[in-house]
């Protein structure tokens, strides 16, 4: 069986300082630190587990992005993926899922993958569109929010459970090949192992220039950022930690919570 896992490298944005610009836009310093999108770790783990259970399976891991994004592919190889593919794009990361999905579909078309997996969404763009778009591009069945994957013995079908509102689960049987977006919590992603990381560092990734893949349209365009609006008063307690604790206790007492 051949599995393709599509991953993304995302910036470390947790600690960034965000300020309000003159026109109310959000301004922040350039993001320079990157990591593998955490939601994608579940897709890599799902693929590696399938290989462990079935044997004779190869796991390819692919990213579409600029030079630096190869690091994310190496991390996925460190988690146990066999082979890395880098679809090289221009430097500036764009937020156009139609372009990313178009390149992935163009690449995968010439290969024989039984399963194509992605994470539920990227932490930066938060679109969650690539899996259904790749499925459409390749005219394959697909499902999102997949929490459980069971392959039929003859590997012609997959039974999946997808998580819907309130934690309920929908059970669906899909013919293979299929494209699945794996939900967080579907498994416990492993840490990269030292031996696999050494292997990753030695491996020369398969590089494909996205120009050569052609055909991908940038249908969505990110114009800029703005600050979210507050939905509540948001009174900030001030002073030393001790003073804040005093204020909070007074408030809780005032409202008869303690």
């Amino acid at each position: 069986m051949k599995i393709l896992v599509c991953i993304k490298q995302v910036p470390e944005f947790e600690q960034i300082e965000i300020n309000e610009g003159p026109d109310g836009e959000a301004v922040f310093e350039e993001l320079t630190e990157y990591r593998m999108n955490r939601f994608d770790e579940y897709a890599v783990e799902a693929a590696v587990q399938i290989r462990e259970n079935l044997g004779s399976t190869s796991v390819d891991v692919l990213t579409a992005g600029p030079e630096r994004s190869a690091e994310a592919v190496k991390r996925a190889i460190g988690m146990g993926a066999d082979h890395g593919i880098h679809l090289k794009t221009e430097d500036d990361v764009d937020f156009s899922p139609s372009a990313i999905a178009g390149w992935i579909a163009a690449y995968a078309k010439s290969k024989v993958y039984h399963l194509i997996l992605t994470g539920s969404m990227s932490e930066d763009a938060m679109n969650g569109q690539v899996a259904p778009m790749v499925a459409a591009g390749l005219q394959l069945p697909g499902a999102t929010q997949v929490i459980d994957v069971r392959l039929s013995e003859d590997l012609s079908e997959v039974c999946i459970e997808r998580e819907i509102e309130g934690g309920h689960r929908e059970e669906i049987r899909l013919q293979l090949p299929a494209v699945l977006a794996i939900q967080t919590g579907a498994n416990q992603p492993r840490y990269p192992s030292l031996s696999n990381l050494l292997r990753a560092n030695k491996q020369v990734l398969e590089q494909v220039d996205t120009y050569a893949l052609g055909g991908a349209a940038h249908r969505e365009q990110l114009l800029g950022f703005s600050l979210p609006r507050k939905t509540r008063a948001g009174r900030h307690l001030s002073g030393s930690p001790r003073e804040k604790a005093d204020q909070l206790l007074a408030l809780l007492r005032n409202k008869a919570f303690i």
Partner: protein, 334 residues
């Protein structure tokens, strides 16, 4: 046929019931219509949807098209995709609006891809600029909003529930329902059924006070602090975000958010929670929200009444200690 100016709205329903957020979706479509005129077409797709179509038409005054596909006894991505593509491809509408939920996010990007439309998911706002319509959505974990525009004449949108509010107008006459049958081929997929959630969330949904933990707790050991803080209150419960439950620090019965429980306690204390929209959807009905987070720009502070920018691993012990000292000081004004 060429491009149309229509605004197509896909109703969301399951088990014979319309999702109430479908009305919010309609409210969004009407706002969109004011900025870019076009006829709103509300489609309800499924095996037996006459009743649902009548309900929506009655509630909203909107004309509704009931599309009966006997294969679609339950939601199925392939069925939605096949029908919508064959229906809309000949004359792509200006907009296709679906809910940003487990259904919309499942079929909308695929439909967009097949009809060469742009796709913007998780829309929370819209505005008209000289260059055209701009849609807002959460990016970077919900810390900021991205302003996204479509580079095509046709655009598929999934709209965040709970943002655009529908107001009923009792004087409005019911809309008309037209009914037709359609074939939704299911060649590659078969829906086997739905299983109820395994987790029993009654402990947190019935609590008066919820102390909730997020990724900022940092370490499983610090969960003790969350439990200790909860013990300060009567009828309290400990809960957490998806991340905390995925890590096994809490059971899924204690998960708050879209795929967990929706709660509305008297008091909600968010500890180390970033405020991702998936979580906020589950707690925004809380009466009083207190947030503790080291990051002054955390999105949770936009949803909080009281904001405390502190490291919870130091602040909660200090709070508990201060409380204990006050209890043992009889002279203190209580």
């Amino acid at each position: 046929m060429g491009q149309s100016s229509d605004i197509v709205v896909i109703a969301a329903h399951a088990n014979g019931q319309v999702y109430p957020e479908t009305y919010d979706l309609l409210a969004f479509a009407r706002q969109l219509q004011k900025l870019q005129p076009g006829e709103i077409r509300m489609l309800v797709l499924g095996a037996a949807v006459d009743g649902i179509a009548e309900t929506i038409a009655g509630m909203s005054g909107q004309d509704v098209e009931a599309i009966c596909c006997e294969e679609l006894t339950q939601y199925c991505s392939e069925g939605y995709r096949n029908f919508l593509v064959s229906e809309l491809q000949p004359s792509p509408p200006a907009f296709i609006c679906a809910l940003h939920n487990s259904q919309g996010l499942d079929f909308a990007p695929a439909v967009a891809s097949e009809i060469n439309a742009a796709c913007i998911t998780g829309v929370t706002g819209l505005s008209a600029r000289q260059s055209g319509l701009v849609f807002q959505k959460h990016v970077y974990g919900g810390k900021i909003k991205g302003n996204v525009t479509a580079a095509t004449d046709s655009c598929v949108l999934t709209v965040q529930p709970g943002v655009f509010k529908f107001e009923t107008d009792p004087s409005q006459p019911a809309g008309n329902v037209t009914r037709r049958t359609a074939a939704c081929r299911l060649e590659h997929s078969q829906v086997l059924g739905t299983r109820p959630a395994e987790a029993d969330t009654s402990t947190i949904t019935e609590a008066r006070v919820i102390v909730s933990a997020g990724n900022g707790v940092g370490d499983q050991e610090n969960m003790g602090l969350i439990h200790e803080l909860a013990r300060l209150f009567q009828k309290s419960a400990v809960a957490g975000t998806r991340t905390v439950c995925d890590r096994g620090w809490l059971g899924y019965s204690q998960q708050i958010g879209i795929t967990g429980a929706t709660v509305a306690p008297e008091l909600y204390i968010a500890c180390g929670i970033s405020g991702a929209v998936q979580h906020v959807m589950g707690m925004q009905g809380s009466r009083l929200v207190i947030a503790i987070n080291t990051d002054a720009r955390a999105a949770i502070f936009n949803e909080a009444d009281i904001c405390i920018v502190e490291d919870l691993t130091q602040f909660i012990p200090l709070l508990l200690e201060t409380y204990k000292n006050e209890q043992t000081e009889p002279g203190k004004d209580v």
